[in-house]
């Protein structure tokens, strides 16, 4: 059964999550593609160095037109948390 066809919001959220994952994969091409998934631990995966924070903040801003602070980025434990944050802010 194709769930997304019955629940359009689910399709939407999946596509936003995919967009986020793809955006991160694009910026961090040196990290194996399969390691960047929804439940990846961002701190473990990227480490919050000043340079990586800049890259993630700018990519989110470019891709989703959402401005995040350093603290907001650092507060996200996983890619899914970052997705939730972007979703909540883009709905405002």
């Amino acid at each position: 059964m194709n769930t997304s066809s019955k629940t359009p919001w689910l399709k939407f959220t999946h596509s936003v999550m995919d967009k986020l994952i793809n955006a991160l994969r694009e910026e961090f091409a040196e990290i194996k593609v399969g390691l960047i998934v929804a439940d990846s631990d961002l701190l473990e995966l990227l480490g919050w160095s000043s340079l990586n924070i800049v890259i993630v903040r700018a990519k989110v801003q470019e891709t989703f037109a959402v401005k995040l602070s350093d603290q907001q980025i650092k507060s996200c434990k996983t890619v899914a948390d970052l997705y939730s944050l972007i979703s909540s802010l883009s709905k405002r």
């Binding site: 160095s49 000043s50 340079l51 800049v54 903040r57 700018a58 350093d70």
Partner: protein, 221 residues
């Protein structure tokens, strides 16, 4: 002499602000990252600066919104082969691992690269200085471990020059902060001696035209 760029001010260390540098260097936050540890006394600082070669070694107090955030250095410059050791030290813990810290570092590295014309960077950092090691890793530097001294020497590689390795980060800084290499050098005849003024005028006047257009020189007094 002050170099202004990206809302930072890099104030060249002179007899007037020498004490400011000493106090910064002696803070526990900065001491953590120094290869040569130990507090420096006023007398030691004065003796050091008297002997300091101010053509090949440059120290700057770094300010943002009129507040001191740390200091930077560009030392052991070999103008013949365009080799030197840059360093940025943040004294404000709030700025650690922040995007502002990245803007600060890149802004200063740009000055070293484009104004001083340094073609190859290297640095000696403590093996425990993870922040510096992470940054050098970003720049694709070669590592040489000196186990006796617990230091690591990192050298920029020819295969991944600074412009290339920082391209992505500079683009991102442009998105967040309207970052660009665009500097104003403000010299003060009362503070900066002739040697200093001539050096910076010479550096500015010998820049390639594309970079020269981004460098403004102002002489006060």
């Amino acid at each position: 002499m002050i170099i202004k760029t990206n809302h930072f001010e890099f104030e060249k260390v002179n007899w007037k602000n020498l004490e400011e540098l000493r106090l910064l260097r002696n803070t526990p936050v900065i001491q953590n990252y120094l290869v040569n540890k130990g507090e420096v006394s006023e007398e030691q600082q004065i003796a050091w600066f008297k002997k300091e070669d101010t053509i090949n070694n440059h120290y700057f107090i770094a300010k943002k919104n009129n507040g001191v955030i740390g200091y930077c250095l560009l030392r052991h410059i070999d103008y013949e082969v365009s080799l030197a050791e840059p360093g940025t030290f943040i004294a404000t813990e709030d700025l650690f691992d922040s995007s502002m810290a990245a803007l600060f570092m890149i802004s200063f590295m740009d000055i070293c690269r484009f104004l001083f014309g340094i073609k190859k960077f290297y640095g000696n950092v403590l093996a425990t200085n993870n922040r510096a090691l992470t940054n050098y890793e970003w720049f694709g530097a070669d590592k040489e471990i000196n186990k006796d001294k617990n230091e690591i020497t990192l050298t920029e590689t020819e295969s991944q020059p600074y412009e290339q390795s920082t391209n992505k980060i500079r683009k991102a800084l442009g998105t967040l902060y309207d970052y660009r290499f665009d500097i104003t050098i403000v010299m003060d005849k009362l503070v900066d001696n002739e040697l200093c003024r001539n050096l910076f005028l010479s550096l500015a006047n010998h820049l390639p035209s594309d970079i020269r257009s981004k460098v403004k020189v102002e002489i006060e007094n």
